[in-house]
């Protein structure tokens, strides 16, 4: 509140810091700020104030944003469904019996619940886009290394990306404008993504995936996501089928290998000395990384170069943007994602990140936008994938879709119920 008072005072004197002046935000609890504890959803870091401030927080501060605190997340960002054994349940505002997805679970819930106007998450295999989809908001995965990660918790050195979760695509464009660009503890983007958002869609080629992304797809999700293509077509885009190369399927298999190997390397000293402070689920995931041979890891990194070239040549030379479902299944229930449910648990975890992790592997930008509701009333999203540094194009398409459908104005079911109960009580 002290910062809000100060911002109001300087504004009265005629000074406005930037495009986020006075806007309250909160971020996944893994963005370090000097002197503040960012627990990273863990017990291990729950008492350790940070020794520096993340570059992205410095940039948001410089733009006038207000950081109101850290948000719940999956322990060390290792898990896609949102559960954290060390924290109270993070509740999906569209259905309290449903997972919020993760690992940026608090970011998805806080923005969808109208607690804050935007939140930074991190995306290693879908951790911005999946909670955005499950909570009915927007999630942006920028091109790998477009946004500085300095001063953030590392999960996977080569896959981690910083990205915003917001209610509108325009909001995401504004946040990206502030956080993108060279590090140097304050460099800014040379592009104003928000200014480019209103351009026409005429002639833009939107690809519809044939292969991989349309496999194991729930019919209910397919119906909603396919319907969103018609909106883009009517707005001027050309819808073109495009075959997905086999390298995407291999990328899907290799992504967990890279993520686990790099994650385990980060955690090695603590796993040895403080292993009992990890939850069983995350502890087991990290242990798997210790048994990956260095040769397999290096080969997987080398394959990334080939896979990117192949994807650019066979997909993104034929279309400007690829349109896919984000979550291939309806948002799971809490019960379905219980760690104790055996093989079904693993199947569920794999399904949640099936369409997102391959994009991290390729290092491409992707935008997740809510496009409707499955028959159980839960939101579902499409994903737009583009060439490196094509964020402006993705944002333009997503923004036009939101302007045509106005779905971003929908208030989550549990919030409507809560406000109705409050009104009845007041009467």
């Amino acid at each position: 509140m002290a910062r809000a008072l100060w911002l109001d005072r300087i504004q009265s004197a005629g000074e406005v810091l930037g495009s986020l002046h006075g806007v309250p935000m909160a971020h996944k609890d893994m963005y370090y700020r000097t002197g503040r504890v960012s627990a990273c959803g863990s017990r291990i870091r729950s008492n350790e104030p940070a020794r520096g401030t993340a570059t992205v927080l410095r940039k948001l501060d410089a733009a006038g944003g207000i950081d109101v605190g850290g948000l719940a997340m999956v322990e060390f960002a290792m898990g896609p469904h949102g559960f954290n054994a060390h924290l109270p349940r993070c509740l999906n505002p569209w259905g309290h019996d449903r997972v919020p997805c993760g690992s940026s679970s608090g970011s998805g819930v806080a923005v969808a619940s109208r607690m804050v106007y935007a939140s930074l998450g991190s995306d290693t295999g879908g951790s911005v886009r999946c909670p955005a989809a499950a909570n009915g908001i927007v999630g942006l995965l920028p091109t790998n290394e477009l946004v500085s990660r300095r001063g953030t918790m590392p999960m996977s050195w080569s896959l981690d990306c910083v990205g915003p979760l917001t209610r509108t695509v325009r909001d995401a464009a504004r946040i990206l404008t502030e956080i993108a660009g060279p590090d140097a503890n304050g460099g800014s983007a040379s592009i104003n993504y928000e200014h480019e958002i209103d351009g026409p869609l005429a002639g833009i080629r939107v690809g519809v995936a044939e292969g991989y992304f349309d496999e194991d797809l729930d019919p209910d999700v397919n119906k909603v996501v396919t319907g969103s293509l018609e909106v883009l077509r009517q707005s001027g885009a050309n819808i073109i089928p495009v075959k997905i190369p086999r390298s995407v399927s291999i990328a899907s298999d290799l992504h967990p290998l890279v993520m686990k190997a790099e994650g385990s390397a980060n955690h090695k000293p603590w796993k040895r000395e403080r292993g009992d402070e990890y939850s069983a689920e995350v502890g087991k995931r990290l242990e798997a990384g210790f048994f990956i041979p260095a040769s397999d890891y290096i080969n997987a990194l080398q394959f990334r170069v080939f896979a990117l070239d192949d994807f650019l040549e066979t997909v993104l030379s034929k279309v400007d943007v690829l349109h896919t479902p984000l979550l291939p299944i309806p948002t799971p229930t809490l019960e379905q994602t219980a760690y104790s449910s055996g093989p079904n648990y693993l199947k569920m975890v794999v399904a949640l990140t099936r369409n997102t992790k391959v994009i991290n592997f390729l290092g491409l930008p992707a935008l997740s936008v809510t496009c409707g509701y499955t028959s159980d009333g839960m939101p579902t999203s499409f994903q737009l994938v583009g060439r490196p540094f094509s964020e402006s194009l993705l944002l333009r398409l997503g923004h036009r879709y939101q302007m045509e459908t106005k779905l971003y104005r929908e208030i989550p079911r549990e919030l409507r119920r809560t406000s109705t109960q409050a009104s009845v009580a007041a009467e």
Binding site: M1, A4, L5, L7, D8, Q11, V16, L20, H21, G22, V23, D29, R36, V37, S38, A39, G41, R45, S46, N47, E48, P49, A50, R51, I66, V68, G69, G70, L71, A72, L87, P88, R89, C90, L91, G106, A110, R114, M115, V116, Y117, A118, S148, R149, R150, G151, T152, M153, P154, D160, R167, T168, R170, D171, R174, D183, E194, W270, Y408, I411
Partner: protein
């Protein structure tokens, strides 16, 4: 003004930033609306205070 305040939390980031910029609502008022919700929904957040660090933790350098 009261109507804007009531609807504040349902606005988008760009909409609320424009209201603050044009002085139709203050940063303090906006934060109050948010902090009311944070108080009610505190399980979503983690505490941001603690003791002195004793363990070196890897961190991204770029």
């Amino acid at each position: 003004m009261q109507k804007i305040s009531d609807e504040l939390h349902n606005l988008s980031l760009c909409e609320v930033a424009d209201l603050i910029k044009t002085k139709q609502v203050s940063a303090v008022e906006t934060c109050k609306r948010v902090s009311n919700k944070l108080t009610r929904l505190i399980p979503f957040t983690t505490p941001s205070y603690g003791k002195i660090a004793t363990v070196q933790w890897p961190v991204h350098f770029g």
